[in-house]
């Protein structure tokens, strides 16, 4: 089933159903209006999905972060947001809570990447993380960064796009909410996956994308076979 999505600008009237107003909208005198430049999504909630904008974390998001500073008992983490996050030594498991200042860098050092869950965002925008996994340098894999607004497109409806990517590129692919994507596989496969992901992000707003991507990937595997 093909559906047409509507592009809206701030202030556009969307609906009278004020009780269903969701993210990206505001209500004034019983009417729902668009709060940002984006695409209207009307399911149970009426939402406007922004086409651009910076990533601001919410509780529960899983993100890929990069350690930028050690400030006992926290690591300060860059999460591709205007706001920095912090990871407390007690939120890492594996005995990390016993670390002291000197030994923190042996557990996680500046420039290391981590996968973490956002456990708290308070009113002053203090963001607390809990570690899920760390990726030490040299453990293989590649990190690709796309605008966080394109993440849903790379995942696809019901995960269809990412499923296809994993299969056809033969890679492990993990997409974090903040637009950072971890890819693991053979060099050539990772190159292909990176290229395709960047292409999807560039053309996220166009139609027929899934088919185009599928064809593109097929043409690569055909080349492989012919060798």
């Amino acid at each position: 089933m093909r559906r047409m999505y509507k592009v809206v600008v701030p202030g556009d009237f969307i609906s009278d159903k004020e009780n269903r107003a969701g993210e990206g909208t505001y209500v004034e005198e019983g009417k729902v209006y668009a709060l940002c430049y984006g695409i209207v999504e009307e399911r149970e909630e009426i939402k406007v999905v922004a086409l651009s904008g910076k990533y601001v974390p919410s509780k529960g998001d899983v993100v890929i972060g990069r350690i930028v500073e050690i400030s006992y008992p926290y690591w300060i983490v860059d999460i591709a947001s205007p706001y920095e996050a912090r990871l407390h030594i007690s939120e890492c498991g594996g005995g990390a809570e016993k670390l002291d200042f000197g030994s923190m860098s042996r557990f996680l050092d500046v420039e290391d990447f981590i996968v973490a869950k956002v456990i708290q965002v308070n009113v002053l925008m203090r963001i607390d993380l809990a570690l899920k996994e760390e990726f030490k340098r040299g453990s293989g894999g590649r990190l690709v960064e796309i605008p966080h607004t394109k993440v849903p497109r790379v995942i696809g409806r019901n995960g269809s796009m990412i499923k296809m990517l994993k299969e056809k590129c033969n890679c492990f692919i993990f997409i974090a909410k903040n637009g950072r994507i971890l890819i693991r596989g053979r060099e050539a496969d990772m190159n292909l996956a990176s290229m395709v992901i960047l292409k999807i992000a560039d053309e996220a707003h166009t139609s027929g994308l899934t088919d185009r991507v599928a064809n593109f990937l097929d043409s690569f595997s055909r080349d492989d076979e012919e060798k």
Partner: protein, 246 residues
């Protein structure tokens, strides 16, 4: 306003303005969205012979730190004219006129921005006049509005802007440089089209109360049309229908 009117210029001949426009016509408006790679949002706009480019950076960390607001973002606006944008080269750097225009423009856009979404951050708007032919601040506000939307900044509305003036005793829309120089009054406004709320208003020169009221109505009507053009430019940018999956 020209102080020493050594030579009077006839600004209205046979009921038409020197560039052939009617009294209620604004100059041709061209809007392009997302023209800069590095900025978070951008817009290139032409209003007659005015050429302006607006860029938005943000939200991003606010400096200086002591000026941060713990509860909301701070909006900054810098209007600047390129040295080659005017007949007599303008020395680089802010002058008093640019400082005032920056303040008035920022106050025109601030009311629609939901600053509470980004505590402690700065939302920075940079407007550069590349070529100037009067009405530059209105062109700047129109471009800035579109650039803010392009950057994904949450806003209740777009803001639209135009000037009215008085030339040869007549109230007319959107003065060009000659009309501004030899005319009797110039009144730029900015407005939220959806609610007819005015967020900027300045008047320079001399007008009767009646002329002012007529001019205001004329400008407000033009802002509605400009809003439609801003909106169209943004929608057209993603005009290929985004069709659903499966």
């Amino acid at each position: 306003m020209n102080e020493g009117k050594g030579e009077e210029v006839e600004l209205i001949k046979d009921g038409k303005r020197l560039d052939g426009r009617g009294f209620e016509e604004f100059r041709p408006l061209k809007i392009e969205v997302g023209v800069l790679k590095r900025a978070d949002g951008s817009c290139y706009l032409e209003l007659g012979d005015n050429k302006v480019i607006a860029a938005v950076y943000g939200p991003r960390e606010m400096h200086p730190r002591h000026a941060q607001d713990a509860k909301m973002a701070v909006v900054k606006y810098r209007y600047n004219m390129a040295p080659f944008s005017v007949d007599d080269r303008k020395r680089p750097g802010p002058d008093r006129r640019s400082v005032e225009i920056s303040k008035v423009s920022r106050e025109a856009l601030d009311p629609v921005i939901i600053k509470e979404y980004y505590p402690k951050m700065a939302i920075e708007v940079y407007v550069e006049m590349l070529q100037s032919d009067a009405g530059t601040r209105t062109a700047g506000i129109n471009a800035a509005s579109v650039a803010l939307a392009d950057a994904g900044i949450p806003m209740t509305d777009l803001v639209s802007s135009i000037a009215v003036g008085k030339i040869g005793g007549e109230v007319v829309l959107d003065l060009n440089a000659v009309e501004d120089n030899y005319g009797e009054a110039d009144m730029p406004i900015a407005m939220i089209a959806r609610t007819n709320t005015i967020t900027a208003l300045q008047m320079d020169g001399r007008m009767t109360k009646d002329e002012f009221e007529r001019g205001l109505k004329l400008a407000m009507g033009a802002c509605q049309q400009i809003y439609a053009l801003q909106r169209a430019a943004l929608i057209e940018r993603y005009s290929k229908s985004k069709e659903g999956e499966e």
